[in-house]
Amino acid sequence: MTETMESKSRRMASLRKKRYRAERRFRRLGFAAVSVGLIFLTVLFGVVLISGFGAFKQTFIQLDIAVLQGSDNYQGMVKQALRDIFPEVKSRRHKRQLYALVSSGATYQLNARIEAEPDLSGKKISAWFPASDDVDMVIKGRIARDGPAELRRVTDQQLRWIERLENEGRIRTQFNWAFFTSGDSREPELAGIAVATLGTLLSLLVCLVLSFPLGVLTAVYLEEFAPRGRWTEFIEVNINNLAAVPSIVFGLLGLAVFLNVFNLPRSAPLVGGMVLALMTLPTIIIAGRVALNGVPPSVREAALAIGASPLQAVFHHVLPLAMPGVLTGTIIGTARALGESAPLLMIGMVAFVVDLPSTILSPATALPVQVFLWADSPERAFEERTAAAILVLLLLTILMNLAAVLLRKKYEIRW
């Protein structure tokens, strides 16, 4: 005996205490890390929400338009209506400033309205037209009325007119449907995300249709059937590498192969989806293999032992059990594709597109590209729209993740 009972038990007790301390320390650190993460997330969402929320509302100005019989000078009618409200404006400079209060889109809207209702001609109609982006910013308080004139893009004269319009009840804000129904525009008040959203959805659809079956089947083949050997290993390493390749490289590949060799149309969601599929494929394959690997071998044995062929064993039993993992991988991959802009820039989905794409071959943009384009625009009002487009993008991501959770729940099987 080199040690008394007492000193031994004292040593053990002190070790125990140390262990508890380490445990507590780890928990506290973990909690702190999660809290910091949550705070950042909240701040991020908060900032985007605050700066983007305004774009869901739009300022409108009420004009009383005298529709001239047999005339198609709609711009003239709009201008006349403005002059009717402010008859004292005479100089050309002031007139120009006056006309700038209303969006240039008013002309087209009037045109469309009268074409749709020909019996309006010769009558006087009162209608609401979108205000120009600067007026919109003033009304929403994003341009300070009392700030220095050179910073606010609105002259003192214009401010007075706006005030008068407000007093006459000719200005109101309402839900900005145009933001969701129209394509891109040079005028912020007319620009919308419809083309970008539809382009994104179509691209994702193409991406899923291509990458899901291809990825799952590849994973099944590699995991369940391919003979282990140098070739399989080589392919495995390369798939893992592909997952780490910067996405713009896939864009270059798409440009070189899909556009230049196969002569597919530029800016088309089809090509966008194909490029995104290239990018998503490795993710799906890797996730699929992990999920397949996680299915207990006893399931395969059970099926094989009653005379199922290897193919039947995999497709009837193993793959369904691996489905939650496969789907999670697929959705994570697709969600990444959703936020991708670099490869889409390469294949021309960065175009200025006004009309909704009617097929997967018509030109379109994508939401992240639209964000990128608007963020680059000088107009103050685009700032708000950029944030709003980001909000929509985030919403789509959240929806996809929700789908992942629900699908997991649905296919999850308790053992």
């Binding site: 282990r228 207990p296 006893s298 399931v299 395969r300 044995e301 059970a302 099926a303 094989l304 032992a305 009653i306 005379g307 199922a308 062929s309 290897p310 039947q312 009837h316 039993h317 059990l321 099987i413 308790r414 053992w415």
Partner: protein
């Protein structure tokens, strides 16, 4: 070297054997069966005959190759990476490893029950119906129902589950799950049932139930069972084979092997001195 049809003409010699042997022909026979995992041999030169409608018990210490042997009998080792087989295994005189033999079809004739109950995560009904479905063993759903009920009945499970055939197979107790696996194996009408330690994950009552079932089943099937329980081997089997370090050390009638073992290693094992 792997078995090939060139070296061993399938059927020819064994057919003669069958003719000669007449009634007492073995259901399954192995000839110089040697198994490697990679370069490491796990079984050496096993020659064992398995008689029809008998229970043959395989005993021996852990790692001696019992599972490896039993999995050779329905070619479950085919799917194990690096597993290589030499020698010959015949079922009713046909070499099951000969070229052109269909392992998938073989497994409908030689069913298997595993150590850990492994029902599919599907309903009880679907567990049993799966085999008959993929083999096209019925024409309509009435016939399918009949197969499922008959198989469950034979496995002694019907009374316990007939009110909840749509419940998941995994919701049953361990012993019931194992009987469900037996019902699933029976449903494809095999001739031989292989069981690899079917009771080792079960409590004594469930074990007794399965043992009872095995005694009933041997009327219709040839049964090979691996067990680490000497008592179980003694209670259930007609024939016993004792494996030791990859070699078949002793084989014979169960009574003889237990009461009068010829080999010293067998004696040590059955008297409980090693194992």
């Amino acid at each position: 070297m792997p078995v090939s049809a060139m070296e061993i003409p399938p059927q020819m010699p064994t057919n003669i054997l069958v003719l000669d042997a007449g009634h007492g022909a073995p259901k399954i026979a192995t000839e110089n069966l040697t198994v490697f995992y990679g370069d490491k041999p796990a079984l050496h030169d096993i020659n064992l005959d398995i008689e029809p409608n008998r229970v043959t018990a395989l005993i021996g210490p852990s790692g001696c190759g019992k599972s490896t042997f039993i999995r050779c009998l329905n070619r479950m080792n085919d799917v194990v990476q690096g597993c290589r087989i030499e020698g010959k295994v015949t079922l009713d005189g046909d070499n099951i490893y000969a070229i052109g033999q269909d392992a998938v079809h073989l497994r409908t004739r030689v069913g298997m029950v595993f150590q850990k109950p492994n029902p599919f995560p599907k309903s009880i009904y679907d567990n049993v119906a799966y085999g008959p479905t993929i083999h096209g063993m019925y024409e309509n759903s009435d016939q399918r129902d009949a197969i499922v009920l008959r198989s469950l009945d034979r496995a002694g499970l019907l009374d316990e589950v007939k009110d909840r055939l749509r419940a998941p197979g995994t919701s049953l107790s361990g012993g019931q799950q194992q009987r469900l696996c037996i019902a699933r194996a029976i449903a494809v009408e095999p001739e031989v049932i292989l069981m690899d330690e079917p009771c080792s994950a079960l409590d004594p009552i469930a074990t007794a139930r399965i043992e009872e079932l095995i005694t009933e089943l041997k009327e219709h099937y040839t049964i090979v069972i691996v067990t680490h329980s000497m008592q179980q081997a003694a209670r259930l089997s007609n024939k016993t084979a004792y494996f030791h370090l990859g070699r078949l050390v002793e084989k014979g009638d169960t009574e003889t092997v237990f009461s009068d073992p010829q080999d010293e290693r067998t004696r040590d094992y059955v008297t409980g001195r090693i194992g």
